[in-house]
């Protein structure tokens, strides 16, 4: 199977590519050729994926990585696209630990619960605007994007009015077809904006996360900029796609939609099931082995890449029987949509609360919600590193 390269094109919008489904049937770990010719691995099995992501012998530093797909090859070759300091997702311990410890206190279950009333208020305001405008509207622009965008901006202390200065660049950065020069420029613009913002906050602190980090005194301006950048991008491009794609999935599975709308007891688990079934991080995460590691009898040599295919892992039949069907009542916890190990998503409790509020609020406000186009006409984000819908025309 050494002729395997990472398949991206899907035959059906909500299922992983057929090649991936077939691989999953054959085993849990596969040899895969990366875009620069490097021979590495792709993991599709649940147990193997957990083993890889929990193992400190795998690194998430970009230095020795090989690009899984061609557009990324272009970026890495350029060399100009450096991961900024403070972008701790792409660091290993002890560097990673230093940043993570500074932030976890801000993202605890309890802290996030305190945001509930404000998130509900933001959600209602978006729904009011939609109702007043009347259908059809693009649900991405009217609902899925503004809610998490406003929430992360308020949490960080980034003025929402400035969103034109980073929302578009965030899209450019997660677009797989973006040319290296454009990515470098987009990164530069957003970093410059945040750097300027942090200097302003140093002079004039507010009650927000970035001001708190400045006052903590642990990080310099460059590091703060990188942390702010990671949180801003991660807060924008993730929950927004879950809300958009989740609504598409529900509208095309009306029985599931009704269950989630009509029974408040189903909501928490329904959100976990949507996270599992949709697995919007659809092309990774990737790691590189720092030394020889044996996983399930396979020897991964030092320097070899390992990609974890989260959509496949989340449908591994040994862990999630009938994983190809959306069932909001199945026990869905334990899915790996937020990753596993030390990099497991810092923002997951925020994302959960946003979704637990937003889906039922939308479905109850507009019980007659339906697509304003055919399902086939909805543009899917196959060209983005985070999956979702580009737009979702709905009416009610």
């Amino acid at each position: 199977m050494t002729d395997l390269t990472l398949p991206i094109a899907r035959q059906r919008p909500l299922d992983p590519p057929d090649e991936i489904i077939e691989l999953g049937r054959q085993g849990s770990m596969h040899r895969m050729t990366y875009a620069d010719g490097h021979l590495g691995w792709l993991v599709t099995g649940y147990a193997a994926a957990r083993a890889v992501l929990a193992d400190p012998r795998f690194s998430n530093r970009p230095d020795d990585m090989h690009p899984p797909i061609a557009s990324r090859a272009d970026l890495l070759k350029k060399g100009e696209f450096r991961v900024p300091p403070g972008f701790f997702l792409r660091t290993d311990p002890p560097e990673h630990t230093r940043y993570r410890k500074l932030l976890t206190g801000q993202f605890t279950v309890r802290r996030m619960k305190m945001l509930e009333p404000r998130i509900a208020e933001i959600t209602d305001a978006c729904l009011d605007v939609m109702e007043a405008a009347g259908g059809p509207v693009d649900l991405v622009q009217a609902f899925a994007l503004p809610i998490p965008s406003l929430v992360i901006c308020e949490l960080l202390g980034v003025p929402y009015e400035d969103r034109a200065r980073f929302q578009e660049d965030a899209r450019v950065l997660v677009n797989l077809e973006t040319k290296a020069d454009d990515a470098v420029a987009a990164l530069g613009r957003t970093m410059a904006y945040l750097h300027e913002l942090i200097q302003r906050k140093r002079k004039e602190p507010h009650d927000d996360l970035l001001s708190g980090l400045i006052e903590g005194g642990e990080l310099n301006d460059e590091e703060l900029t990188g942390v702010g950048f990671l949180l801003l991008i991660a807060g924008h491009e993730t929950t927004a796609n879950m809300l958009g794609l989740g609504t598409y999935a529900l509208l095309t599975n009306p029985g599931q939609l009704a269950a989630l709308r009509d029974d408040p007891a189903v909501v928490d688990n329904g959100v976990e099931e949507l996270l599992r079934y949709l697995t919007i991080i659809h092309l990774g995460p990737f790691r590189v082995a720092l030394e020889d590691v044996e996983i399930e009898g396979n020897l991964i040599k030092a320097g070899e890449m390992v990609g974890v295919h989260l959509p496949a892992v989340n449908r591994d039949p040994s862990r999630f029987p009938e994983g190809d069907t959306l069932d909001v009542t199945r026990p869905a916890t334990g899915h790996m949509t937020f990753g596993h190990g030390i990099h497991q998503c810092l923002g997951q409790q925020l994302a959960r609360i946003e979704m637990r509020i937003a889906y039922p609020a939308l479905l109850r406000r507009f019980p007659g919600l339906r697509l304003a186009v055919t399902p086939e006409e909805v543009p899917m984000r196959s060209d983005m590193s985070i999956y979702g819908v580009h737009s979702l025309p709905v009416t009610w």
Binding site: A54, K101, T104, Q106, V109, R110, Q344, Q348, Q349
Partner: protein, 64 residues
Amino acid sequence: MEIKADTTVCIGAGMCALTVPQVFDQSEDEGTVVLLLQGEVPEELEDSVRRAVTLCPSGAISAS
């Protein structure tokens, strides 16, 4: 059932506090795991505690 928690390993993902809020909390400053119970875990919570242990991404909590 006895629970152990290692805050030096914990990455504050909060799966424990989300799964069994009666047993686990997270500290205000670092967000790392805090055990709310001293001594024995009530029997009716044992299954949930076991689930929290498997859900913890960093292996910071154990139950025996």
